[in-house]
Amino acid sequence: MRVETTRVANPVRLQHMAGFYDSMPDLVGQALPLVSAAFARAEPVALAVRPTTERALHDVAGGAAGFVTLESAATARGSGQTMATRRARQLRELTAAGAVTVLTEHDHELDGVDGRYWTELDAAQSIALGDLPVSLVCFFPQFPLHLEILDGARRNHPQLLVAGERRRNPAHRSPRDVLAAIPASTPLLLGPPEVTLTYTAWQLHDVRCAVEQVLADVPTFVATRIEDVVLAVNEVATNAVEHGGHQARLALWVDDDELVCEVHDIGTLVEPLPGMRAPHPSQPRGRGLWIARQLCDVLHIWWDAQGTHVRLHAGP
């Protein structure tokens, strides 16, 4: 795992813009000037678009040179915040050499039940990529199946691409306000857990033992990975009893491929998506969840009237 501190001194920050298209050729037509401008500045263009769009962009730009393909969202299990964490990690490496232009495209296969994934992804990206020299342009269809997607897109993006021009978006809201109106999605229920445990701040040792015990019998998990997963669960569990009330509930599911862990508490979050950005080294708190997000394959936080909930998936 790479650990870097937040680049606060960097003068260039995220530029986040939404564009709307009515067909794939229209999308390519709108994207081409952005690609040409990036290439003219000797900036690479990172793509998170459907394969047909990617091929079409390569064709009009005269080849694949200068393009980078970003990680697919399929493995984030419908968690927009998880996808944003991964994208931040990938873009942090890409931007080490300088600014990057990123083009993304809506994919209805990731909509889930109501398309909320996209709103959560964009809000999470606004936080996670905030300090990176990235120009992120998100393309949405003018008429998606779930109109809530457009609602979220209009609130999440400070800029809009209209007729090839950057325009300030008067409907733009902060990620916190967006997520207050359109909260992160609730994942599908799992079956009965293998282990459940109610604990207090003085029983975090029991939480760690429970995780160690369920993983000890899984041959695919090596000792160092078990230690890291125990650390991740400990941080999530600590957060629940530190901010969420004196008691919290832990549930564990395990098989050869992964550990799934849920932590539920009755508290409410001050910041809707904690741990999306590495805190500045001088900040005493807030690093635990960030490290947990880096160590897990999926870490999804959601909230409702009952309190705050976290589900994490960790593979071997």
Partner: protein, 319 residues
């Protein structure tokens, strides 16, 4: 007054009441190490605890592979430890007397033993009282100048049992002042050095800040004191993120003349420190454990005199 198991000499029969598992492993490991260093034969009666004792010996860098091989250090398997309490007292005493004589014949400079004997207290009413075994051992201490450390820890013995056993021991170990909350044990090993054993999490994190503050304060006041505040983390098994961050911050707030030095840091704790910016803190020095640990668990399995390991409790895994 005896304050350390390392001070015990021939003819000493001392009991100790460890307040935590960490203290139990610490006392046992010190006792074993002192015996090995003096060329004595050391016998440990296991009852599911040998793994942790060997883990602590490894953390203390006591080499045990060879003593286990030669028999200088003998770990009596759990099944046999428990069998002792089903053997009539005179018979048990004779077996042990023969063992001490054999140790002398083999050229060892002495004989010492300790172990986990809580099974002897948990047997049904009507069995031979535990204190009868203790009395028999006491005769051997007197006759054969054996060294005997009886450990009655608060997790495996009830308060009533501990009081009963304390009453039959003339000497009790008086351990120096330490912090011990059952999860973390902090032992001051010098004016600016301390050793942490166990786990640090949200429940006991403030202890570290207080410890560092006190050690730094002392170091600044004392003219001759070291400018390095040293914490030995060999037996620290878990460090949470906020505690790692607080160590990094504490070092950064030291006056520029002083440094925080973390020594014998295990890879597990080292990774957490790395992720919390330890490599970027100029006044924090992290020294990882440099030698690979001996394969202690294999050693006990190999020298298990009972042959099959199935009838004994597995030693606790060391991580």
């Amino acid at each position: 007054m005896i304050t350390s198991t390392a001070e015990m000499t021939a003819g000493d029969h001392v009991c100790a009441v460890p307040v935590s598992d960490e203290q139990l492993w610490e006392l046992t490991a010190e006792f074993v190490a002192a015996g090995l260093a003096r060329g004595e034969q050391v016998v440990y009666f296991d009852d599911g605890t040998a793994g942790s004792v060997l883990g602590r010996l490894a953390a203390d860098r006591v080499r045990v592979a060879r003593p286990l091989h030669t028999g200088q250090l003998e770990i009596v398997p759990s099944a046999i430890t428990r069998q002792v309490f089903h053997t009539p007292v005179p018979e048990a005493r004779e077996i042990l007397r023969a063992k001490i004589d054999q140790a002398e014949a083999d050229g060892y400079t002495g004989f010492r033993m300790t172990g986990q004997w809580s099974y002897g207290m948990s047997r049904p009413v009507g069995a031979v009282p535990f204190t009868d075994y203790d009395a028999a051992l006491h005769t051997l201490v007197r006759e054969r100048s054996m060294i005997l450390l009886c450990l009655y820890d608060q997790r495996r013995y009830t308060n009533a049992q501990i009081e009963e056993l304390r009453a039959v021991h003339r000497d009790e170990l008086d351990a120096p002042n330490t912090y011990d909350d059952g999860l973390l044990r902090v032992t001051r090993t010098g004016s600016s050095t301390a050793r942490l054993a166990g786990e640090i999490d949200h429940s006991n994190r403030p202890v570290i800040a207080r410890l560092l503050e006190a050690a730094l304060d002392e170091a600044l006041r004392a003219h001759s004191a070291s400018t390095d505040i040293e914490l030995n983390l060999a037996s620290l098994r878990f460090l949470d993120v906020a505690a790692a961050v607080s160590l990094v911050h504490a070092a950064e707030e030291f006056p520029s003349t002083h440094r925080l030095v973390l020594v014998d840091v295990t890879p597990r704790v080292g990774r957490v420190l790395d992720r919390c910016g330890a490599p970027f803190a100029a006044q924090l020095l992290v020294r990882e454990i440099d030698e690979p640990r001996e394969p202690v668990l294999d050693a006990t399995r190999r020298f298990d005199p009972s042959g099959a390991g199935s009838d004994r409790d597995e030693p606790e895994a060391i991580r």
